[in-house]
Protein backbone atom coordinates (compact mmCIF):
# COMPACT_ATOMS: atom_id res chain seq x y z
CA UNK A 1 0.00 0.00 0.00
CA UNK A 2 2.03 2.97 -1.20
CA UNK A 3 0.98 6.49 -0.38
CA UNK A 4 1.89 9.42 -2.60
CA UNK A 5 1.52 11.81 0.27
CA UNK A 6 3.09 10.74 3.54
CA UNK A 7 0.98 11.93 6.45
CA UNK A 8 2.41 12.89 9.80
CA UNK A 9 0.81 10.93 12.63
CA UNK A 10 0.85 12.27 16.16
CA UNK A 11 1.67 9.94 19.05
CA UNK A 12 -1.97 10.00 20.16
CA UNK A 13 -3.04 9.11 16.62
CA UNK A 14 -0.64 6.13 16.59
CA UNK A 15 -1.92 4.98 20.00
CA UNK A 16 -5.49 5.24 18.70
CA UNK A 17 -4.61 3.25 15.56
CA UNK A 18 -3.01 0.49 17.66
CA UNK A 19 -5.92 0.34 20.08
CA UNK A 20 -8.45 0.39 17.21
CA UNK A 21 -6.60 -2.45 15.53
CA UNK A 22 -6.81 -4.54 18.72
CA UNK A 23 -10.49 -3.58 19.09
CA UNK A 24 -11.24 -4.77 15.53
CA UNK A 25 -9.86 -8.19 16.44
CA UNK A 26 -12.25 -8.60 19.35
CA UNK A 27 -10.25 -6.66 21.94
CA UNK A 28 -7.35 -9.13 21.88
CA UNK A 29 -4.69 -9.53 19.20
CA UNK A 30 -1.18 -10.72 18.38
CA UNK A 31 1.53 -8.25 17.27
CA UNK A 32 1.45 -9.25 13.58
CA UNK A 33 -2.22 -8.37 13.15
CA UNK A 34 -1.75 -5.13 15.07
CA UNK A 35 1.18 -3.94 13.01
CA UNK A 36 -0.76 -4.45 9.79
CA UNK A 37 -3.76 -2.62 11.21
CA UNK A 38 -1.73 0.25 12.63
CA UNK A 39 0.69 0.41 9.68
CA UNK A 40 3.84 0.28 11.84
CA UNK A 41 7.14 -1.56 11.78
CA UNK A 42 7.62 -4.31 14.35
CA UNK A 43 10.17 -2.35 16.40
CA UNK A 44 8.06 0.79 16.54
CA UNK A 45 4.96 -1.22 17.38
CA UNK A 46 6.68 -2.96 20.32
CA UNK A 47 7.96 0.39 21.59
CA UNK A 48 4.47 1.91 21.48
CA UNK A 49 2.88 -1.22 22.97
CA UNK A 50 5.19 -1.08 25.99
CA UNK A 51 4.15 2.56 26.48
CA UNK A 52 0.49 1.60 26.20
CA UNK A 53 1.03 -1.12 28.83
CA UNK A 54 2.67 1.45 31.13
CA UNK A 55 -0.34 3.73 30.67
CA UNK A 56 -2.68 0.85 31.54
CA UNK A 57 -4.44 0.91 28.17
CA UNK A 58 -3.22 -2.53 27.07
CA UNK A 59 -2.42 -5.74 28.90
CA UNK A 60 0.10 -8.36 27.76
CA UNK A 61 -1.00 -11.99 28.04
CA UNK A 62 0.41 -15.37 27.08
CA UNK A 63 -1.78 -17.83 25.16
CA UNK A 64 0.24 -21.00 24.78
CA UNK A 65 3.38 -20.01 22.86
CA UNK A 66 1.87 -16.77 21.59
CA UNK A 67 1.94 -13.35 23.19
CA UNK A 68 -1.31 -11.41 22.80
CA UNK A 69 -2.22 -7.85 23.70
CA UNK A 70 -5.57 -7.20 25.30
CA UNK A 71 -7.47 -3.93 25.64
CA UNK A 72 -8.16 -2.89 29.22
CA UNK A 73 -11.31 -0.98 30.27
CA UNK A 74 -9.19 2.17 30.29
CA UNK A 75 -8.04 1.38 26.75
CA UNK A 76 -11.62 0.84 25.62
CA UNK A 77 -12.63 4.17 27.17
CA UNK A 78 -9.75 5.86 25.34
CA UNK A 79 -10.88 4.40 21.99
CA UNK A 80 -14.45 5.57 22.62
CA UNK A 81 -13.34 9.08 23.56
CA UNK A 82 -10.91 9.32 20.67
CA UNK A 83 -13.57 8.17 18.18
CA UNK A 84 -15.91 10.90 19.40
CA UNK A 85 -13.20 13.54 19.18
CA UNK A 86 -12.21 12.33 15.73
CA UNK A 87 -15.82 12.52 14.48
CA UNK A 88 -16.18 15.99 15.99
CA UNK A 89 -12.96 17.20 14.37
CA UNK A 90 -13.85 15.58 11.02
CA UNK A 91 -17.18 17.40 10.97
CA UNK A 92 -15.22 20.67 11.01
CA UNK A 93 -12.73 19.36 8.44
CA UNK A 94 -9.94 18.99 10.99
CA UNK A 95 -7.66 15.95 10.78
CA UNK A 96 -6.19 14.76 14.06
Amino acid sequence: MSREHKEYRSKTRIYADILNSIMKHGGKSGPTRILYGANLSYDRLMKHLSQLIELGLVQEEKEGDEVVFKLTDKGRAFVLEFTKVEKFAEAFGITI
Partner: protein, 224 residues
Protein backbone atom coordinates in the same frame (compact mmCIF):
# COMPACT_ATOMS: atom_id res chain seq x y z
CA UNK B 1 -45.78 43.22 23.15
CA UNK B 2 -42.46 44.89 22.21
CA UNK B 3 -41.02 43.90 25.62
CA UNK B 4 -41.91 40.25 24.94
CA UNK B 5 -40.23 40.48 21.55
CA UNK B 6 -37.16 41.93 23.26
CA UNK B 7 -37.15 39.11 25.77
CA UNK B 8 -37.34 36.54 22.99
CA UNK B 9 -34.37 38.23 21.32
CA UNK B 10 -32.38 38.21 24.57
CA UNK B 11 -33.27 34.57 25.15
CA UNK B 12 -32.07 33.65 21.66
CA UNK B 13 -28.80 35.47 22.33
CA UNK B 14 -28.42 33.64 25.64
CA UNK B 15 -29.00 30.22 24.05
CA UNK B 16 -26.55 31.05 21.22
CA UNK B 17 -23.85 32.02 23.73
CA UNK B 18 -24.50 28.89 25.78
CA UNK B 19 -24.21 26.62 22.72
CA UNK B 20 -20.99 28.41 21.74
CA UNK B 21 -19.52 27.67 25.20
CA UNK B 22 -20.64 24.01 25.02
CA UNK B 23 -19.01 23.50 21.61
CA UNK B 24 -15.91 25.34 22.81
CA UNK B 25 -15.71 23.09 25.86
CA UNK B 26 -15.99 19.98 23.71
CA UNK B 27 -13.25 21.26 21.40
CA UNK B 28 -11.06 21.77 24.50
CA UNK B 29 -11.76 18.20 25.58
CA UNK B 30 -10.79 17.07 22.09
CA UNK B 31 -7.62 19.12 22.20
CA UNK B 32 -6.64 17.56 25.56
CA UNK B 33 -7.25 14.07 24.18
CA UNK B 34 -5.51 14.56 20.84
CA UNK B 35 -3.20 17.57 21.16
CA UNK B 36 -4.60 18.85 17.84
CA UNK B 37 -3.79 22.51 17.17
CA UNK B 38 -6.92 22.80 15.02
CA UNK B 39 -9.13 21.81 17.94
CA UNK B 40 -7.37 24.33 20.18
CA UNK B 41 -8.10 27.09 17.67
CA UNK B 42 -11.71 25.90 17.45
CA UNK B 43 -11.97 26.01 21.26
CA UNK B 44 -10.55 29.55 21.39
CA UNK B 45 -12.84 30.72 18.57
CA UNK B 46 -16.03 29.39 20.16
CA UNK B 47 -15.07 30.72 23.59
CA UNK B 48 -14.32 34.20 22.20
CA UNK B 49 -17.58 34.10 20.23
CA UNK B 50 -19.54 33.02 23.32
CA UNK B 51 -17.94 35.74 25.47
CA UNK B 52 -18.76 38.35 22.81
CA UNK B 53 -22.41 37.33 22.61
CA UNK B 54 -22.61 37.14 26.39
CA UNK B 55 -21.14 40.64 26.81
CA UNK B 56 -23.68 42.08 24.42
CA UNK B 57 -26.44 40.15 26.16
CA UNK B 58 -25.46 41.59 29.55
CA UNK B 59 -25.25 45.12 28.16
CA UNK B 60 -28.55 44.85 26.32
CA UNK B 61 -30.29 43.40 29.37
CA UNK B 62 -28.89 46.21 31.53
CA UNK B 63 -29.88 48.74 28.88
CA UNK B 64 -33.42 47.35 28.61
CA UNK B 65 -33.94 47.30 32.40
CA UNK B 66 -32.54 50.80 33.01
CA UNK B 67 -34.33 52.21 29.96
CA UNK B 68 -37.58 50.77 31.24
CA UNK B 69 -37.14 52.58 34.58
CA UNK B 70 -35.45 55.88 33.64
CA UNK B 71 -36.15 56.98 30.10
CA UNK B 72 -34.19 60.21 30.71
CA UNK B 73 -30.87 58.35 30.82
CA UNK B 74 -31.27 57.06 27.26
CA UNK B 75 -28.42 59.11 25.76
CA UNK B 76 -25.91 58.01 28.41
CA UNK B 77 -26.87 54.39 27.97
CA UNK B 78 -26.71 54.61 24.21
CA UNK B 79 -22.98 55.27 24.60
CA UNK B 80 -22.65 52.11 26.68
CA UNK B 81 -24.53 50.08 24.09
CA UNK B 82 -22.40 51.50 21.28
CA UNK B 83 -19.23 50.49 23.14
CA UNK B 84 -20.60 47.03 23.81
CA UNK B 85 -21.69 46.51 20.20
CA UNK B 86 -18.18 47.56 19.11
CA UNK B 87 -16.55 45.10 21.56
CA UNK B 88 -18.98 42.40 20.46
CA UNK B 89 -18.20 42.98 16.78
CA UNK B 90 -14.46 42.82 17.41
CA UNK B 91 -14.72 39.59 19.46
CA UNK B 92 -16.85 38.11 16.66
CA UNK B 93 -14.27 39.05 14.06
CA UNK B 94 -11.49 37.52 16.19
CA UNK B 95 -13.53 34.32 16.50
CA UNK B 96 -14.29 34.15 12.76
CA UNK B 97 -10.64 34.87 11.96
CA UNK B 98 -9.66 31.94 14.19
CA UNK B 99 -12.11 29.69 12.29
CA UNK B 100 -10.50 30.82 9.04
CA UNK B 101 -6.97 30.28 10.43
CA UNK B 102 -8.00 26.78 11.57
CA UNK B 103 -9.01 25.92 8.02
CA UNK B 104 -5.96 27.57 6.43
CA UNK B 105 -3.62 25.60 8.73
CA UNK B 106 -5.61 22.46 8.06
CA UNK B 107 -5.21 22.96 4.32
CA UNK B 108 -1.45 22.75 4.77
CA UNK B 109 -1.71 19.32 6.34
CA UNK B 110 -4.06 17.68 3.90
CA UNK B 111 -3.53 16.13 0.48
CA UNK B 112 -3.37 17.77 -2.93
CA UNK B 113 -7.02 17.14 -3.75
CA UNK B 114 -8.24 18.92 -0.64
CA UNK B 115 -5.72 21.72 -1.08
CA UNK B 116 -7.16 22.35 -4.51
CA UNK B 117 -10.60 22.50 -2.97
CA UNK B 118 -9.38 25.12 -0.52
CA UNK B 119 -7.96 27.18 -3.37
CA UNK B 120 -11.38 27.10 -5.02
CA UNK B 121 -12.97 28.21 -1.76
CA UNK B 122 -10.51 31.07 -1.41
CA UNK B 123 -11.21 32.18 -4.95
CA UNK B 124 -14.93 32.12 -4.25
CA UNK B 125 -14.53 34.72 -1.49
CA UNK B 126 -12.61 37.20 -3.65
CA UNK B 127 -15.65 39.26 -4.72
CA UNK B 128 -16.50 39.81 -1.06
CA UNK B 129 -12.92 40.80 -0.21
CA UNK B 130 -12.82 43.32 -3.05
CA UNK B 131 -15.83 45.10 -1.69
CA UNK B 132 -14.22 45.41 1.73
CA UNK B 133 -11.90 48.14 0.51
CA UNK B 134 -14.87 50.24 -0.41
CA UNK B 135 -17.30 49.46 2.42
CA UNK B 136 -15.35 49.40 5.69
CA UNK B 137 -18.11 47.80 7.71
CA UNK B 138 -17.46 45.20 10.39
CA UNK B 139 -20.49 43.25 9.29
CA UNK B 140 -19.04 42.89 5.83
CA UNK B 141 -15.76 41.64 7.30
CA UNK B 142 -17.76 39.11 9.31
CA UNK B 143 -19.63 38.00 6.18
CA UNK B 144 -16.34 37.62 4.31
CA UNK B 145 -14.68 35.58 7.04
CA UNK B 146 -17.73 33.42 7.52
CA UNK B 147 -18.04 33.13 3.74
CA UNK B 148 -14.58 31.60 3.64
CA UNK B 149 -15.37 29.28 6.54
CA UNK B 150 -18.72 28.27 5.01
CA UNK B 151 -17.18 27.51 1.61
CA UNK B 152 -14.45 25.44 3.28
CA UNK B 153 -17.03 23.54 5.34
CA UNK B 154 -18.97 22.92 2.09
CA UNK B 155 -15.80 21.48 0.49
CA UNK B 156 -15.37 19.33 3.59
CA UNK B 157 -18.96 18.15 3.16
CA UNK B 158 -18.27 17.21 -0.46
CA UNK B 159 -15.21 15.21 0.63
CA UNK B 160 -16.70 13.53 3.70
CA UNK B 161 -20.37 13.31 2.64
CA UNK B 162 -21.54 12.84 6.22
CA UNK B 163 -24.45 14.34 8.11
CA UNK B 164 -22.06 15.77 10.75
CA UNK B 165 -20.17 17.74 8.10
CA UNK B 166 -23.54 18.84 6.63
CA UNK B 167 -24.63 20.17 10.02
CA UNK B 168 -21.39 22.15 10.40
CA UNK B 169 -21.87 23.57 6.89
CA UNK B 170 -25.45 24.60 7.67
CA UNK B 171 -24.30 25.96 11.04
CA UNK B 172 -21.68 28.27 9.54
CA UNK B 173 -23.92 29.06 6.55
CA UNK B 174 -26.77 30.19 8.79
CA UNK B 175 -24.35 32.22 10.92
CA UNK B 176 -23.20 33.97 7.76
CA UNK B 177 -26.81 34.55 6.70
CA UNK B 178 -27.50 36.12 10.10
CA UNK B 179 -24.82 38.74 9.34
CA UNK B 180 -26.45 39.44 5.99
CA UNK B 181 -29.68 40.15 7.87
CA UNK B 182 -27.80 42.34 10.38
CA UNK B 183 -26.33 44.28 7.46
CA UNK B 184 -29.77 44.72 5.91
CA UNK B 185 -30.99 45.95 9.29
CA UNK B 186 -28.39 48.76 9.12
CA UNK B 187 -29.89 49.98 5.84
CA UNK B 188 -33.47 49.67 7.06
CA UNK B 189 -33.35 51.39 10.43
CA UNK B 190 -37.12 51.72 10.77
CA UNK B 191 -37.70 47.98 10.66
CA UNK B 192 -36.42 45.56 13.27
CA UNK B 193 -37.61 42.48 11.37
CA UNK B 194 -34.14 41.89 9.91
CA UNK B 195 -32.61 42.04 13.38
CA UNK B 196 -35.04 39.36 14.54
CA UNK B 197 -34.38 37.27 11.44
CA UNK B 198 -30.65 37.69 11.99
CA UNK B 199 -30.83 36.49 15.56
CA UNK B 200 -33.13 33.65 14.56
CA UNK B 201 -30.76 32.41 11.85
CA UNK B 202 -27.78 32.85 14.21
CA UNK B 203 -29.55 30.66 16.77
CA UNK B 204 -30.49 28.13 14.06
CA UNK B 205 -26.81 27.97 13.08
CA UNK B 206 -25.74 27.25 16.64
CA UNK B 207 -28.53 24.66 17.00
CA UNK B 208 -27.15 22.86 13.90
CA UNK B 209 -23.73 22.71 15.60
CA UNK B 210 -25.35 21.48 18.83
CA UNK B 211 -27.19 18.70 16.96
CA UNK B 212 -23.87 17.64 15.40
CA UNK B 213 -22.28 17.58 18.85
CA UNK B 214 -25.17 15.51 20.25
CA UNK B 215 -24.83 13.02 17.36
CA UNK B 216 -21.07 12.71 17.86
CA UNK B 217 -21.43 12.25 21.62
CA UNK B 218 -23.83 9.35 21.13
CA UNK B 219 -21.26 7.19 19.29
CA UNK B 220 -20.60 3.92 21.07
CA UNK B 221 -17.80 1.45 20.57
CA UNK B 222 -18.95 -2.20 20.47
CA UNK B 223 -17.64 -4.31 23.33
CA UNK B 224 -15.74 -7.45 22.52
Amino acid sequence: MSLNWGLVTLLMEFVSALISFIIGYYALKGYRASGSRGLFLLYTAFMVLGIGIFLRLIALTYFAVILGVHEASQSQLLGLVNDTVWIYSVTQLIAYSLFAVTYILQARNIGKQSAAAVSVSAAATVPFSARLFFIPSLELVAITLLGFVTVYSFMNLLLKKGSDAALVFFGFGLMMLSHVFFLLEVFRKMSSSFLFLGQLTQLAGFVCLLIMLAKVSKIDVPRA
